[in-house]
Amino acid sequence: MTQINRLPCGLVDQTTTLKFSFNGNIFEGHPGDTLASALLANGQRLVGRSFKYHRPRGIFTAGSEEPNALVELRTGASQEPNTRATVTELFDGLEARSQNHRGSLAFDMMAVTDLLSPFLGAGFYYKTFMWPKSFWEKVYEPAIRSAAGLGSLSGEEDPDVYDKGFLHCDLLIIGAGPAGLAAALNAGKAGLRVILADEDFRMGGRLNAETLSVDGMPGTDWAAKAAGELMNMSNVRMMTRTTVYGGYDHGIYGALERVTDHMPSSGGKPRQILWRIYSKHAILAAGATERPIAFANNDRPGIMLAGAVRAYANRWGVTPGQHVTLFTNNDDGWRTASDLQARGINIAAIIDSRSCDAPAQIAGAEIFMGTHVIDTSGRLGIKSIKLSNRRIVATDCLAVSGGWNPNVHLTCHQRGKPEWRDDIAAFVPGAALPNAMHVAGAACGSLTLAGALTEGHRAADLIISLSGKASHSETPPRAEAEAASISAFWHVQSDTGRAWIDLQNDVTVKDIKLAHKEGYRSVEHLKRYTTLGMATDQGKTANVLALAVMAEQTGQSIRETGTTIFRPPYTPVAIGAFAGRARGRDFRPFRLTPSHNWAAVQGATFVEAGAWLRAQMFPRAGESHWRQTVDREVAQTRKSVGICDVTTLGKIDIQGRDAAEFLNRVYANGFAKLAVGKVRYGLMLREDGFVMDDGTTARLAEHHYLMTTTTANAGLVFRHLEFCRQCLWPELDVHLISVTDGWAQFSVAGPNSRRLLQKIVDPTHNISNAAFPYMACGDVTICGGTRARLFRISFSGELAYELAVPARFGAALISVLMAAGDEFEAIAYGTEALGAMRIEKGHPAGNELNGQTTALNLGFGAMLSDKKDCIGNTLSRRPALVAPDALRMMGFKPVDLSQSLASGAHFVASGKAATTENDEGWMTSVTFSPELGHSIGLGFIKRGHERIGEIVIAADPLRGQSIAVEIVSPHFVDPEGVRLRG
């Protein structure tokens, strides 16, 4: 195919040819083209099907506001749906496909929906598919979802990398059109640190699309010269392909830079970068977006915005048609006729809704003032238009201009409300701008080139002086005056034919009238009922037109009707860009224990625990089921000795003259009398009386304590303690530091644990039962002088110790311990065996400390002292929390010992139905007890402590299980604690 619509001009490199494919057809284009300009050059007017009615659609705009020309790009995992062809840079080998049709684009089998349009008006979802109710989920919704809609996802993982970055500047300039460039030149020369960002790949904005002059040279040349000058300033950062998509508090802006989207592949670079820009000042110079006029059948391929038509001719050297017609209500639209005519394109007719003298004469063009376009024809592309004077004009491209809407979006991201200006028939930024934001040029309603240049320059002047610097360029760049008169005209009244307002969502004038008839008065309701202004274009070309039609219905002015709220992002941002590198394994940072590498070599499996990866178990050859591994680890620990890395427990070093008093206030149980060299279990409450965390605290010296927390709550507890220290009791002399990462800690548990430790603890330290009894702690040295701390505490219920060394010795210590344990056949155990042993011993853990349980529930009611203040003490005494039928943590065993218990089962009395009314509690943790040889569980049940021996039903309707269980003591193994004191 040849480029039948290519003109010998424009900012494309016509000496180089790029090949690309659209729906499998190979086309040619040039560097500097967008996919849209290249398709138009090749005469491809039909590019897609509409969302709801599957109407044939073509390219409508030349920018990011495009509602129609959404395509799928690339293939395989890199496939990207809903990409706007108008902002897709052409590269060699680009593959694009149209969306939302069955069969070929030209013969979409779903186009039948267009014939059903009388039934698919505004709110049809809510009206049509009401009955039968069960059909909604199974029939209607899937059918609608597959019939309507946009592109499809590949279903594969995104192969690209996305990055995040942070930038700081004195001045962020959003948009590099005439206003933005003038501002950047001024501010850059004054020495401000400037960031100039533009969504386009070429700086200049509308200067590249128009034929106006600046400072006596063509606008495009001036833009290129200005960009070159700015590029040479070290204090100016030029960011093309970068959309500032959101304005946030305190001068922070979000920007998306498309780094490699214009290349065949990313080549290892991040595809896109999400920038967070911290600015002292910002100038919004985002320009304006043209809007159409609505008339019957105004959605055919070939009907385009007038500004876009001349942008294709001037910038890209492409004419969208050979017999162009123009429908406008303003002077600016006429530029399209004169520009195209100057390039030798036949202008068939100019239709201007204003009843005034023609502002210009265009050779060869019929001019109709005070006339409207009332209908169009052409199934897959426009062929002719019908005028209000009944004339029919043949045309293959109708350029439409209804005026320009300033791009006020970023002024509204912090609740700003735009204001209506009658003279330009458009909304402009309201008076209450975000702090330190200035608006210049078309974005501010200055719709002439001279106005934009002056305003950009002046805005920079202001910021230069606010920054205490001096401007080095006194006069703004100059441009000639131009006619810019407009007379508001929104839509052509029509009894037949649908007039489209929102092309992307297939919303017509009729839909808006219907919504009004049905009682929708607020614009926010109108938007949600008709879907106006939703999806990828957010109604950039549609919203104001819709407001005008709404205003007409209500008899209000547009000013009174108001606009919907603009929210970030300005244009779509891929979720991948927000995620950045935080995906998959890198979703959040994770920590490795000191013995991680050793455990990996042993073949351990790992599990996430809080921010850590912990060894879950250590399977051995011949073990085919995880239970075999866990049972062996438990049995060998209870029989001889097992070693477990417990570094992950939170460790908080607490020092100061008032450390004891501090602990006494943050723990529910008493800590005032803990002796030096002793460890005590501590239960920590929230102020509302529920349990927050538990752990042990060792008194290492007179004013020195070491607290441990659960792995998951380490950060939370530390934050809480700092709150108590700084905000509640600032008079206490106490200091906290987290030493979780500073110490590697191993549990050495089992009857042979002392014998093992005696081999490595230096003989100067007596760790006999008499000298170092249960709950003792102290500094020791190991392996001939290495500093260590020893705690005689037990989670397993066995004779056990925890040995801590500075973290850098942790990796060595696991090998030392295992070697010393060789003669006892010591094993390493993971979190599964740890869990099994703590259930056997009846220790509560995460499942029991779930934020909904009290000390009383856990059987620790007696720990609470009413003689002292502590966090949570007062509210833990609320009547409901101490009611006689409160839940108690108990042990449970199946009556039929061959049955396996399941956590999550709820307890009901024997013979009662498993209903909410009969619910008496639930099973929290279960395990197979290698010691007892059957399944056991922990759980909460009402008045459990008074019901030992009672049989209840553990009902688990979710898994279809119902098991008779006996309520027993939660201490299944060694309830008297003989072993741990041995």
Binding site: D249, I252, Y278, E687, E722, Q726, P730, D869
Partner: protein, 95 residues
Amino acid sequence: MIINHPLLGPRDAQEFTYFGDASLINRPDWQAEDAAELFYEYLHVRDNPAGEHRELWYHEHGDRSWLVVTRNTLTHEISKVEIARDVALTRRHGQ
């Protein structure tokens, strides 16, 4: 948002953890006659002003100080940032 830390200068709000109303500093007396009622109000009853709000922020990814930030809930303008410990000590001395 940017919080102007009294010791560290302007820091991104991402470094902080939000906690709530600064009145949480004023923990009631546990021995008061109506302690249960006082604690209930302390913990659960809050003003929800449209305008200036004094609130606690914790510099979790920084120096671990608790701050009292005066923020306008309508505009997010931050008019004052104090070290919470100073606020608490001043309150003590005022009693």
